[in-house]
C-alpha cells in the first residue's frame, strides 16, 4: 500500500520532528504502533520532495508517503491500521492537508482519507517483488517460533546420538504439546518450486520471443538517445561528501533497512516508453520467475517496489544488510537496474540500456544518495531474520509439519 498525502505549507520541519519522535517510540516499545497490527510485514513513513516534472522545479507541496507491505485485502488492512495505530496516525497527519478534524475518533472518515490518497498500482506502471510470496505474517512468525524452539531443544543433545534417534525425539517433542505448534499453511517452498518449473516450461520460449521483439530494438535504438544525452549532459562535478554528510547517518540503522529513492524520468517519449516497458518486464519476472526468494541473484531483498507516478519514478525497498552492500549487489546485476533507472535524470550513462550505468558502483551510490528519502519510521514484523534464513526456516517448519502429519 502506498499512500501519498500533501504536507501543509511550512510544516515540513514539524512533521520531520514528529516522525523522528515516533520512530524512537517504535524502536523502544514492542507494543507500540505497527507492532499491534497482525497484517503488516513492513511499514515506513518518509517525506518526499514536492512533485516535479522534467522541465521545471515547481513549488508543489512536499509529500508524506506511507508505505506498507501487508496480508489480505486493502480494506481490512486499512481498518486494522486505523484501529491499532489511530493516535500515531492523528499526530502525523495533523501536519497534512485536508486531514479530517475528528481524526481516528471517526475511523471511517480516516479510511476514506487514505483510500483517496492511495496509489492504485493496478492503474499505474509498477513492478513489485515479494521475497516470500504468499506467506502471511502469522505463517512466518509460526515458522520462526517453531525453529527457535527446535534449536533450543537440540542444544541439549549429546553428539554421540545418531541422526534417527535425534529426529524421533524432535518429532516427539513437537507432537506432545510444544510451546509453538507447527501449523500448515497454503503455500510451501516445494509448491513454489513446482510452480516455477511450470512457469519456466511454459514461459521461457515466450520470454525469448518477447525479449527479441521488444528489447533488442529498444536497446539498439537507445544508442542514439544515449549519444544525444551524453553530448547534452554536463560533466558532474566531483562529489563533495562534506556537503551531504547527514544523509549517511540515516542509512544503516539495523540488520534490516529501508531505501526509498525518487527520480525523474528524462524528457522525451523514448525514455518514458522504456521506463514503462522495463516495469512491465519487472512485473512478469517478479510474479512468474523470481518466486523462490531471490531477485535474480540477490537473496537479501524482502520487498521491492517501483512505481511511476506521472514522470516520477519512486522506489521503495526493504532489505537485509548495509545500504552499500545492497547497492553493490544490485550493481553486480546491473542490467536490471540499468533498464529501469537509466531513464531517469542524473543516472550514470549506459550503453545499449544494459551496459555501464550502475556497474560504476561509486556513481550509482552517488545517484542513490542524492535522490534518497530517509524513513524516520521503519517497522519490520520479523527483525533480525534475513530473507535467506527465513526461507530455510520455512522449509524446516514445513518439513516438520509434514512429519507430524498436519
Amino acid at each position: 500500500m502506498l499512500v501519498l498525502a500533501d504536507i501543509k505549507p511550512d510544516e515540513h520541519d514539524a512533521l520531520q520532528r514528529e516522525l523522528e519522535q515516533i520512530g524512537i517510540e517504535l524502536q523502544s516499545r514492542s507494543d507500540a504502533l505497527f507492532h499491534r497490527s497482525a497484517t503488516t510485514h513492513y511499514a515506513a513513513w518518509m517525506i518526499l520532495p514536492g512533485a516535479r516534472d522534467a522541465h521545471d522545479a515547481s513549488s508543489a507541496p512536499d509529500r508524506l508517503l506511507l508505505e506498507t507491505n501487508y496480508d489480505g485485502q486493502l480494506e481490512e488492512h486499512l481498518s486494522d491500521l486505523v484501529t491499532q495505530c489511530g493516535s500515531a496516525i492523528d499526530r502525523v497527519y495533523a501536519h497534512c492537508q485536508d486531514y479530517p478534524a475528528q481524526g481516528s475518533r471517526d475511523p471511517k472518515v480516516v479510511e476514506a482519507f487514505f483510500r483517496a490518497r492511495h496509489q492504485d498500482t493496478s492503474k499505474m506502471p509498477t513492478a513489485h517483488y515479494v521475497g516470500l510470496p504468499g506467506r502471511s505474517v502469522p505463517d512466518i512468525r509460526n515458522a520462526i517460533a517453531v525453529y527457535e524452539e527446535a534449536k533450543d531443544f537440540l542444544d541439549r543433545f549429546d553428539h554421540a546420538s545418531d541422526v534417527d534417534s535425534i529426529e524421533r525425539a524432535l518429532v516427539a517433542h513437537f507432537r506432545n504439546s510444544p510451546a509453538s505448534a507447527p501449523k500448515r499453511f497454503a503455500i510451501t517452498q516445494a509448491g513454489l518450486r513446482h510452480l516455477l518449473v511450470y512457469n519456466l516450461i511454459l514461459g521461457f520460449p515466450l520470454m525469448i520471443i518477447y525479449v527479441l521483439l521488444n528489447w533488442a530494438p529498444l536497446c539498439l535504438l537507445a544508442r542514439y538517445f544515449e549519444g544525444k544525452e551524453a553530448r547534452n549532459d554536463r560533466r558532474h562535478p566531483p562529489w563533495d561528501p562534506t556537503a551531504h554528510a547527514e544523509i549517511y547517518s540515516h542509512l544503516d540503522l539495523a540488520a534490516q533497512n529501508h531505501l526509498c529513492t525518487v527520480a525523474t524520468v528524462k524528457p522525451g517519449w523514448f525514455r518514458m516508453l522504456v521506463a514503462k516497458r522495463a516495469l512491465a518486464l519487472g512485473r512478469i519476472l517478479a510474479s512468474k520467475f523470481f518466486i523462490l526468494g531471490r531477485l535474480d541473484q540477490m537473496n537479501t531483498v524482502h520487498f521491492a517496489r517501483w512505481i511511476l507516478i506521472g514522470r516520477e519514478l519512486l522506489f521503495v525497498g526493504n532489505y537485509d544488510g548495509s545500504w552499500s552492500g545492497y547497492l553493490g549487489d544490485f550493481s553486480d546485476q546491473a542490467w536490471g537496474v540499468n533498464l529501469i533507472w537509466s531513464n531517469t535524470i542524473g543516472f550514470p550513462p549506459t550503453r545499449f540500456l544494459t551496459r555501464g550505468g550502475a556497474q560504476n558502483l561509486d556513481a550509482f551510490e552517488t545517484q542513490a544518495l542524492t535522490h534518497y528519502a530517509p524513513a524516520p519510521v521503519f517497522y519490520s514484523a520479523y527483525p533480525g531474520y534475513p530473507q535467506a534464513n527465513i526461507v530455510r526456516i520455512l522449509e524446516f517448519r514445513d518439513a516438520l509439519a509434514k512429519k507430524l502429519g498436519i
Binding site: 562535478p237 566531483p238 561528501p241 549517511y248 542509512l251 534464513n389
Partner: protein, 475 residues
C-alpha cells in the same frame, strides 16, 4: 584500461610489510604551526620509502607517512579536495561507525586513548610509520626524522607507540601464526596461484582499475591550485584537475587490545572433561574458532590432525561446503569467504575479490593501566593497519557485513568468535558437525578497540605537494 604501475610514486608499505624489519614505531602527530610543519615535510619527503628498491637491496630502515582529514585541512589542502572518501572525512569515530565497526561498550570511541574525540584540540593530523631492522636502526631513523628544529616547533606528539618482535616471530598474541593471507596485487609483485588470481591494483592504489572495472574516485584539486605541476594530471579530468590522490590509498589504523588470559580461560573451560582440560580438544576448539591451527595450517587442508604448513592455496567448496572442517562462522572464513558465499562458487570468488584488504599490523605488549612494580601486568594486542582504496567497500564492509554480522552466510545468530563484538558473555559460536551442530555459548568479546583513525597514505609526489602548496591559512 591498463596503466603502468608507477612504483616510484607509491609508498613502500603498500607493496611490502617489511618483514625483515623487526622494530616499528608509529607516531601520531598534531600540526601546531602549519608553515613550519611544511618545512619539516619538505625535509623528510625524500626519505619516504617508495615501492621500488634501488639495486634490490633491502634497506635497514623505512619511513612512511599518512595524514588525516583534519591534517589535510590544517595544511590548507583539505578544503580544495573533491572526490574524497566520506568515511575518511567523517572519521572512524563518527556516530554510525559504532554499529558499522562494532565499536560499542568497552570499545566505544569515548573510551579511546586517541582518535575518539571529535574536537580539534585532540585532533590527530599525521601518522609517521618508522621501521628498523634492529632498535639502533630504528632510533637512527627516528633521530633523523624527529630530532629537528622544524619538528619541535611545528608539530606535537599525540602518541608514540612501539612494536618490537623477535626475529622470525610471526605470531599474534593469542598464539596464532598471523599475516598468512594477503591479497596478491597486480603490478606490486603479487604472485598468482591456482586458487587465487591476481587482484586489480586499483583495489589498493588509487588511479588504477579496480575489481569493478573502473577507477575508484581519486581525490583531486583544481589545476589552478597546483600551478607548478607538482601533482600528476587526473586521468578522468584531463587538464582541469590534478590527481592529488593518485598512487595513494586509505589507511586504517586501530589499536586492538587482545584479552589473552580470557581467551585461554574460555577454551580451557570448554574443553574440560571430568575436571581436566583435554589439550587436543583445546587446540581443536581454538582452531575451529580461527579457521587455522595455531601453526597457521588451514582446517580445510588438515581437518582433524593439526597441520604444520601455513598454507593459503585452498578453497572451501570442493572439500568443505558445509563447514564441517572449517566452521562457516570461523574468523578466516568470515574475513575472506573465497568461494563459499551463498551463490555460485565463481560468483563468490569474484565477490570476495572486491572486499580484500592489505594488512600491515604489528603486535605490541605494554604495561596495563593497573600494572605496578609489585604486580606487573601487560596488555597485549595488535596495531591493526589495513590498506584499501575504498574504505566503505573494503574495510568497513568486512567488519559490518562479514565479521560482526550475526547472520553471515546463513548463520543464525553468531558473530566472529575471535574479533566479533560479542556482547558481554552472550556471544555464541556454532561448530558445524554431524549429526547435529555444536554450539558454544557464553562467548565474551576478546578484542577491544582502544584508539584509531582513518588516514590517507599519499603518493610521493603528493607528499611533495603537501609540503610546498600555497595555502590560504596563515601559520
Amino acid at each position: 584500461m591498463s596503466r603502468h604501475v608507477d612504483r616510484h610514486d607509491i609508498q613502500g608499505i603498500i607493496a611490502s610489510g617489511y618483514d625483515h624489519l623487526n622494530c616499528a614505531r608509529f607516531i601520531l602527530l598534531r600540526i601546531e604551526k602549519p608553515e613550519t610543519a611544511k618545512r619539516w615535510l619538505t625535509g623528510i619527503a625524500r626519505l619516504v620509502t617508495c615501492a621500488e628498491h634501488p639495486g634490490g637491496n633491502k634497506p635497514r630502515n623505512c619511513l612512511n607517512l599518512a595524514v588525516t582529514w583534519k591534517g589535510l585541512c590544517a595544511l590548507g589542502v583539505g578544503q580544495m579536495l573533491g572526490d574524497i572518501s566520506h568515511e575518511f572525512v567523517a572519521g572512524m569515530n563518527r556516530s554510525e561507525a559504532r554499529s558499522i565497526l562494532g565499536d560499542s561498550g568497552e570499545s566505544s570511541a569515548e573510551r579511546w586513548e586517541f582518535g575518539g574525540d571529535t574536537g580539534d584540540s585532540q585532533a590527530i593530523h599525521l601518522l609517521v610509520l618508522l621501521y628498523g631492522e634492529t632498535l639502533p636502526d630504528l632510533e637512527s631513523l627516528h633521530r633523523t626524522v624527529c630530532d629537528t628544529a622544524d619538528f619541535a616547533e611545528g608539530l606535537s606528539v599525540v602518541k608514540s607507540q612501539d612494536s618490537n618482535r623477535a626475529p622470525g616471530d610471526l605470531t599474534e598474541p593469542f598464539g596464532f601464526r598471523d599475516g598468512i593471507s594477503q591479497p596478491p596485487v597486480r603490478g606490486l609483485g603479487g604472485r598468482r596461484q591456482a586458487t587465487e588470481p591476481l587482484i586489480n591494483t586499483g583495489e589498493f592504489v588509487l588511479g588504477y582499475e579496480n575489481e569493478l572495472g573502473y577507477r575508484t574516485p581519486i581525490p583531486s584539486i583544481d589545476s589552478w591550485a597546483d600551478p607548478t605541476g607538482l601533482l600528476p594530471d587526473h586521468p578522468d579530468y584531463a587538464g582541469r584537475r590534478r590527481g592529488f590522490g593518485l598512487n595513494g590509498t586509505y589507511l586504517v589504523f586501530r589499536k586492538l587490545v587482545q584479552k589473552v588470559d580470557e581467551f585461554r580461560a574460555y577454551i580451557e573451560n570448554q574443553s574440560r572433561k571430568a575436571g581436566t582440560v583435554d589439550p587436543r580438544r583445546r587446540e581443536l576448539l581454538a582452531a575451529k574458532m580461527m579457521g587455522r591451527w595455531r601453526s597457521g595450517a588451514p582446517l580445510v587442508l588438515s581437518p582433524e590432525v593439526p597441520g604444520s604448513e601455513p598454507r593459503n592455496d585452498f578453497l572451501f567448496m570442493p572439500t568443505d561446503p558445509d563447514g564441517l572442517a572449517c566452521p562457516i562462522g570461523s574468523h578466516i572464513r568470515r574475513a575472506n569467504p573465497r568461494d563459499s558465499l551463498d551463490m555460485s562458487p565463481a560468483s563468490s570468488l569474484q565477490a570476495s575479490r572486491r572486499h580484500r584488504i592489505i594488512r600491515r599490523g604489528r603486535k605490541f605488549s605494554e604495561p596495563s593501566a593497573n600494572s605496578s612494580a609489585q604486580n606487573p601486568k601487560y596488555d597485549q594486542g595488535l596495531y591493526f593497519i589495513a590498506l584499501n582504496a575504498d574504505l566503505r567497500r573494503q574495510f568497513e564492509f568486512v567488519q559490518q557485513s562479514w565479521l560482526n554480522n550475526p547472520s553471515f552466510n546463513g548463520i543464525d545468530n553468531d558473530k566472529d568468535p575471535i574479533v566479533g563484538d560479542n556482547e558481554s558473555d552472550r556471544g555464541s559460536f556454532t561448530i558445524q558437525s554431524r549429526p547435529i551442530n555444536e554450539r558454544l555459548s557464553g562467548l565474551p568479546r576478546f578484542v577491544t578497540v582502544r584508539g584509531g583513525g582513518y588516514f590517507f597514505l599519499p603518493g610521493i609526489r603528493a607528499i611533495g605537494f603537501l609540503a610546498r602548496c600555497q595555502s590560504e591559512i596563515k601559520g
